[in-house]
Amino acid sequence: MQYVEKPTNRIGQLIDRLPILSDVLRQPLGALGFAIVFIFALTVIFAPVIAPYDFARQDIPNRLQGPSEQYWLGTDYLGRDLFSRLVYGSRIALGTAIPSVAIALSVGIFLGLIAGYVGGVLDNLIVVVMDSLQAFPSIMLSLAILALLGPSLTNVIIVIGLTWMPNYARVIRAQTLSAREKAYVEAERSLGATDRSILISHILPNVIAPALLLAAMDLPWVITFEAGLSFMGMGVRPPTPSWGVILSEGFNNIFQSQWPILWAGATLAVTTLGFTLFGEALRDVLDPRISGTRGL
């Protein structure tokens, strides 16, 4: 049988990926996580369909009510439907998390690769700057910057991106450093490859996978973080229904009605739990494959 160069086949790649999914689903916690993430995704996509009311619609006479037929989870201090607000809140959550992580990841990968591969003074410089950024508890750093820039969705995304970036840079740098020492890098060099081509076609693919996994597993944290900032009033501005805003409003009226806190808190907790469970199951399944000990 002769070897023939195969064209890369999208469908083939998809089919290739399915076994991973089934492996993940085989673990009970992973299945639970997947279910939660799936529901979350559906909520994000179909929010206008699922939510019975507009999230800003007020109904003052019925404010601070508990669950009823009309308002499934009850109302907040302005009589807005909690369920609808939570549903739309999922969009805010994802809408801030994904761009933030994307920014953090791209800048982090870039800096980490350079620091790890080039080394020397540039490496020291990048490390020191990253260390300095990480010297602040992330909340403090974000709060301080938001205080200056003024809270808004865009600013939140930028700030979270900036706060998270040093972590990725650090991880990528460590991965690059270890990849650099690997035998195959030297083998490529002995074949005559330039540093740049080694970096791009050999180190990057091997290093990017763990980073992507890390980013996926960071999503729940970022969602939590954004909600926390909003809780303190430094995130998105009302009436945008970030879950953190709902919590904050609930906190201000805690003695009149406990429902907002209960539902918003539960939603946050369950969502982050689901993402984490799914992410971990995914990592457990993918990890050996990444390091290549599976097979045979």
């Binding site: 049988m1 002769q2 070897y3 023939v4 160069e5 195969k6 690997k182 035998a183 195959y184 030297e186 083998a187 490529e188 060099r189 002995s190 074949l191 005559g192 490859a193 330039t194 081509s197 050999h202 693919p205 091997n206 290549g292 000990t293 599976r294 097979g295 045979l296």
Partner: protein
Amino acid sequence: MDVTFKAVDLEIKYHTRQATLTALRNVSFEVPRGQIVGLVGESGCGKSTIASAIMRLLPPNGEISGGEMVFNGRDLLQVSEDEMRRMRGRDLAMIFQDPMTSLNPVFSLEQQMVDAIQAHPPNDRPISRSEARQRAIYMLDRVGIPDAAKRIQDYPHQFSGGMRQRMMIALALQANPSLLIADEPTSALDVTLEAQITSLIRELRDELQTSILYITHDLGIVAQLCDRVVVLYAGNVVETGDIFGVFKKPLHPYTRALLRSHPSNQVRVNRLITIRGRVPSLKDLPVGCKFAPRCDLAQPICFDHEPVQSNVEAQSVLCHAYQPGWTGKSPETLYAGASLSAQTDAAERTALEPTQEAESEQVVRTALLKVHYKDNIGWLGKLLGEKEGMVRAVDGVDIVVHRGESLALVGESGCGKTTLGRTILRLERPTIGEVQVNGRDLTGLSQAKIRPMRAQMQMIFQDPVSSLSPRKKVADLLLEPFKIHGIEVDKSKKVNELLEMVGLSSEQADKYPHQLSGGQARRVGIACALALNPLVLIADEPTAGLDVSVAAGILNLMKDLREKFGLTYILITHNLHVISFIANRVAVMYLGKLVEIGETATLFTQPSHPYTQALMSAVAIPDPEQRENRKRIILEGEIPSPRNPPAGCPFHPRCRYCEPRCASEAPLLSECPDNTHLVACHFPAQVVNAYLPG
């Protein structure tokens, strides 16, 4: 016969998520009292499983599903876990393979040893910590740890691998157990260290009369050390018997093939025997005889029925050929001359003849080459009084390699051979001296200028799998050299061509490196290196980590390719058997310097440098009859650190011929008295005479 341990029809299974695998079946063997029994087999045959099983330390998914293990008269399978724990360390002890991970790094030696001794005090009488400490110091001293009383407070990472292995032995034998299981104790060590450790083991056995089950893949060690041997293949015992019997007259086809594929220097052949096919994986065991698919004598019965044990004189064998009614050829006809004690005046070794120096061009040349690594202290360190150390990896090496030659660079860890090889390829920068390849001086050139020349000089890296980029398929890896140098090729055709050249099927092209076996990965590495038709190929430990028969295949391949393409090889290895098969010149290195260089035959028969002598005599030859004959030189001590080489001759602290002059004056590499080769010693004539018989 008084028997310390007896395994009877042992069967061991592993339960994995996908299936239950039978790792060992019908395993029976004995360890007579006071004897050393070698358990030999290639990777995957189950020998480590037996060790764990005897200690009843199988992993949670392992199960001893059948048979008996009789130890000093008791069936270990009937013993309670508590009782078993009491026996571990006291009656049964084990030493493990890798000394670097066998000791707990965060506890001092003293703590670990005292705990062990107090757990199993001599005579079962509880002893105090200070008494235990005394005993620990005594044991450490006994196994050769210098300055034991002081060093007992140190931590494992402060000791070398050889020292750590001695500690393991001390720990294992301190309670004087009846049975010691040694699981590949020297596989991770250098040759001279290996000789030291095996000699130590033998001494201790003589003193304490411990019965030893010595597990290894190295036939040489078995021949040198053991009284009996048990051969394992794919979970079955295929042959057992007295050491002389089995080696002189191996019965089973596998044993015969194993012995015959060993590239020992006793057998001058042109090609090594390899066993076709691969060791079957446990998931995919053949019905019938497990060796049948690879056996040249196989008959239909071998594929249908499992063989039963036959006894032939003092040996027992598991093979249909020894059962009545066998219609095929007798195993004795297989690889006639498989016995290694017989000297074969075999075919000439083509391409191993010394080349005519004057005519051949110089492909590689180094002059006064030094590669020194300085510690990076920085101004801060200097300020605080830290001394700047320097590692003299290569310390003044002149070698010349001519076209068509195969030069072997030999030495143990830290001698600088790998650094030398890499510096020749300019993967390292020379500190002082010159490197010339194919007439061009590479010494001062930048990487950018060297890059186009890389096509001419290639390297085969030590670890076959990790030297291949993990995310690329084999086909992409093979095409990489062409991509890098911008050469247009017909992709499919080239890939098939390269695969065929190294004896791989085209199915391998689509695999990822982690899906290849060690031997396959090695072949891919060779193919990549040869893709651009280099002049010189540097092979770094080409057979490291490979089983005997797989390694034999690689060596044969390298020989064939050399003839076909007129390659020049520089082989970096510590395996002297490999050298004797494929190299025509040998350069011995010690602490960065060349101590002897000359034709292979000369170095093996008339080593003129004390270190070369020690190396040659330390090599374990798979011929038990040579045990008594050969002079065994066991070197004392360990290789000093390349940061701190001794003054004068670097070898003098360990040299048996050392004289005052050696400590102050470093000998130069010069012609030895009979003008056959170069040696760096002050009195080579005396050294050679002391070595030669008569």
